[in-house]
């Protein structure tokens, strides 16, 4: 009964989505207010039904209803409750439902947080989101119904892929989808602006928080996926340039370009057409990513569907949506204009460089990802692009980007001068160079790997450059402010601190990548009981293997004692699991995480009639900094979203309470507790206090 109700809810949601995508749009064109006003309630209704459908599927999984095909294929009676829950999106059908669930969540969020926006804009934005919803709901209902019955019911399920039975899988897909789908909001705003022809700095200010939130979720999702691959696949790598990873990374790169480009459009009114194009691209690439990952064209743990009908549908949907939005862009973009002018030496130029580099990087990764598929589709043979290609392309592209990251925040809008910037940045440069010489020497001495690695030195140079220039730009801001030192910290805006934190995160990330790349050590060795092996200054002693039971698997658990200079550090217990339902073998690595290093051990297979085992022993310096850096980037995004200027309009509508405290604890140190001058609105107060903020008259040029 429950699955049928879920199915019925999906059909109702599709009907509402159709209404949502037609009436508000027509209403906005004609100026019919009642039709525009339909957008919010209908979108919310759609959200309710999609949520009910999602709950119905979760219910079926939690209650082990093996008469539902999806449950029978992806669950098992022995599966622990947590993984029963995550199995909901462990299949093609379930993950589509999750996609639509996220989309309706974002749509409802737009209906709630758009009170200050003009009605026609809201109507158009929600209509565009409704169209996307129609596409996915009809795809699900016609080709991949998650509630399909299995009659007679299976006695037991086929079990969830053991690789997905992991805590990382609880969070990774929802976060990633939140990011993917979140770009739909920026996309919808861009399309709405194209339809209306009104695209100015206020448009950018409305799009910015949505884009940043989507971006921060995508950042977390990718980071989590990378961490999952690191500890679950048992290979100890954190990024493989696998097509599936690339499919999520390309939208991230374009999304990163978009949030920077939006900053220029908001603050200076420049880059307008470009920003719109990026917004369309970011979402189109998210769709493409979904298509690549879900249609089964790529070999990976993510691909489920092998049904050509499904692949064809997604491809058609992709062609229609991307084609239509690009056609609309080509038609309307000339009306929007390019936006404000700027000098060659200015923050705009730095950000333009950022955009070009990010987009070129995205393009070259896309080339390496799609080319093999195209060649295969044309029947010209099977080939793949090796990871060295991505390394070779990515590093040269990212190096100037990291250099620009140092200059951009310090450079002035519109016009900056070279000597002035050189003076400002001389300390940062000096510190970076010194660190770039000292750190590699110290690392080589510590790990005994090489004597001086130029590549590691360059990585440290970039990281230190980003970090030290971030501090320089903070100091610069503090100097401009007046008053006692501590109160000066309250002057810069939350989005400024967010930017600093995100850039700092990049520096941390680069340190992690550089250190792992330059100084990790990996060994696969055969070990007898009591035998030891050295790695990265640590001694690993193999103390044997015992059998341990699990809830739905049996495991051989190794005991490996780690010593440093004879002193005990940790006992690591890697497992080799055999899952009962599928008979699948899984390696479960044991990791001792630390601030400056991870010790990573996994079991291979028994040799010499079980007397010894092949053991993989890794020493990974600073690897956790990679994910810590991503986390800081996401945190920076969060801080930027908390900026009060995104809520200024909301506040103007509410009666003045005379107190600033109702901004809540979520806002940054910059936005709380600063009284605005009497008699001015917060907006003008802000404009007066921020020397870099000049409102553009926007509009069409």
């Amino acid at each position: 009964m429950i699955p049928e109700l879920g199915h019925f809810c999906l059909i109702l949601a599709l009907v509402l989505a159709l209404v949502q995508s037609i009436f508000p749009l027509v209403g906005a064109q004609r100026g019919t207010e009642s039709w525009m006003a339909m957008a919010r309630p209908v979108a919310q209704g759609q959200g309710v039904f999609v949520t009910l459908a999602f709950v119905a599927l979760v219910y079926s999984f939690m209650n082990q209803d093996f008469s539902v095909l999806n449950v029978a294929q992806n669950s098992h009676s022995q599966l622990p409750p947590l993984y029963r829950f995550t199995a909901t999106w462990g299949s093609h059908e379930g993950s589509l439902l999750l996609w639509v669930f996220m989309l309706s969540g974002w749509t409802v969020a737009v209906t709630v947080f758009s009170k200050q926006l003009p009605a026609p804009l809201v109507a158009r934005v929600l209509a565009v989101m409704g169209m996307i919803s129609v596409g996915f709901l009809s795809f699900m209902l016609f080709t991949s119904n998650p509630f399909e019955r299995l009659i007679p019911a299976a006695a037991d399920g086929r079990d969830l892929n053991p690789l997905l039975q992991d805590i990382g899988m609880v969070m990774h897909p929802p976060l990633l989808y939140m990011g993917y789908v979140g770009f739909a909001v920026a996309f919808a705003f861009a399309i709405a602006a194209l339809i209306s022809g009104e695209l100015d700095s206020t448009w950018a200010r409305w799009s910015r928080p949505w884009t940043t939130v989507a971006w921060l979720f995508l950042t977390l999702g990718i980071a989590l996926g990378s961490a999952w691959a690191y500890y679950e696949l048992g290979w100890g790598g954190w990024w493989f340039w696998d097509p599936v990873e690339n499919a999520s990374f390309v939208p991230w790169l374009v999304g990163t370009a978009l949030i920077h480009s939006l900053a220029v459009t908001e603050k200076r009114g420049a880059f307008k057409s470009w920003t719109v194009l990026l917004a369309i691209s970011a979402f189109s690439l998210s769709l493409l990513g979904t298509f690549l990952v879900r249609s089964g064209v790529l070999t990976s743990v993510h691909s489920f569907a092998t049904d050509p009908e499904r692949g064809l549908y997604i491809l058609a949907f992709l062609v229609v949506s991307i084609g239509a939005s690009l056609a609309l862009y080509a038609w309307r973009a000339p009306k929007i204009g390019l936006g404000g002018s700027f000098d060659l030496m200015s923050r705009e130029t730095a950000l333009l460089g950022n955009n070009v580099l990010l987009v070129v990087a995205a393009g070259s990764i896309l080339l390496g990802t799609l080319y093999p598929l195209i060649i295969d589709a044309l029947g010209l043979g099977k080939l793949s692009v090796g990871p060295p290609y991505f390394d070779a392309v990515y590093l040269p592209l990212m190096s100037p980007l990291m250099f620009l990251m140092g200059i951009g925040p310090v450079a002035k809008w519109k016009k900056a001068t070279l000597p002035e910037m050189a003076i400002r940045l001389r300390w940062a440069f000096g510190i970076s160079v010194v660190t770039a010489i000292v750190v590699p020497l110290a690392m080589s001495a510590q790990t005994g790997i090489g004597t001086f690695s130029p590549l590691a030195s360059f990585g440290i140079l970039c990281a230190m450059w980003i970090a030290s220039t971030a501090i320089t730009s903070l100091v610069q801001r503090l100097r401009q402010a007046d008053g006692p030192l501590l109160s000066r910290f309250a002057r810069p805006t939350a989005s400024f601190y967010g930017m600093l934190l995100a850039h700092f995160g990049v520096a941390v990330f680069v340190v992690g990548v550089t250190m792992v790349r330059g100084y990790e050590s990996e060994q696969d060795v055969r070990m007898r009981i009591g035998e030891t092996v050295q790695s990265g200054g640590y001694t690993f002693r193999f103390d044997g293997v015992r059998e341990v039971p699990g809830p739905n698997f049996r495991a051989m658990e190794g005991k490996i004692t780690v010593l440093k200079d004879g002193a005990f550090v940790e006992v690591l217990a890697p497992q080799k699991r055999v899952y009962n339902a599928s008979g699948m073998v899984m390696t479960e690595a044991a990791i001792d995480s630390g601030f400056t290093r991870d010790l990573y051990v996994s079991l291979g297979e028994p040799v010499d009639n079980g007397e010894s085992w092949i053991v993989r022993v890794y020493h990974k310096p600073y690897i956790d900094w990679i994910w810590a850096g991503c986390f800081l980037m996401a945190l920076g995004g969060l801080l930027a979203v908390c900026d009060r200027r995104y809520r200024v309009k909301v506040r103007e509508r509410t009666p003045k309470s005379g107190s600033e405290t109702n901004y809540g604890p979520g806002s940054s140190p910059g936005s709380g507790g600063r009284p605005s001058p009497v008699g001015t609105s917060p907006l003008t107060a802000k404009l007066g206090s921020d020397p870099n903020y000049r409102p553009m008259d926007g509009g069409l040029r």
């Binding site: 070999t299 130029t349 070129v360 390496g368 043979g381 099977k382 080939l383 290609y389 392309v393 993989r616």
Partner: protein
């Protein structure tokens, strides 16, 4: 500079940078294309000796052997028509099994032994790497065309 010159400078600089990047990308791209060859093609000497490539098919039953160091593994990859010996040093993926599909990346030695630096198996019990499936299909087709006139066996 006048705005016009400024714009030209930006566009010119942008185009020059783009040209450099394109050259860089295409060069790296060309160097790192990994072609796929089936065991039959390797036997027909179609596979290159001077660059890495990928082979795939089934792990021949009974062919997996460990070297004296315990870490080096040798096995044979077959597309049911031809067989290529492979050596690999390291831990094999969990789903690597005799009689099941496999794809290996590496170089072909002058002795005809394929030295793999990466071995991929399936991610899932019911799943065959598409390349391995492709190799088997190709072999089946060519066998089929040889035998077909007699009995219409194969595809």
């Amino acid at each position: 500079m006048k705005p016009r010159q400024k714009r030209m400078a930006i566009i010119g600089g942008g185009l020059a940078a783009l040209a450099i990047v394109t050259a860089l990308v295409l060069n790296a791209f060309e160097d790192n294309l990994l072609f796929f060859f089936s065991p039959t093609q390797v036997h027909a000497k179609e596979a290159p000796l001077d660059r890495p490539f990928r082979i795939g098919g089934l792990v021949e039953a009974g062919s997996v052997k460990r070297g004296p160091d315990g870490v080096t593994v040798t096995f044979k990859v077959t597309d049911t028509a031809q067989v290529v010996p492979v050596t690999y040093k390291g831990i094999l993926p969990d789903l690597f099994q005799e009689g099941k599909g496999v794809v290996a990346r590496g170089r072909l030695g002058p002795d005809g032994v394929f030295r793999a630096d990466q071995v991929l198996a399936r991610h899932d019990e019911n799943y065959m790497p598409p390349e391995a499936a492709y190799a088997l299909e190709q072999a089946k087709k060519s066998q089929g065309s040889l035998v077909a006139p007699a009995g219409g066996y194969g595809k």
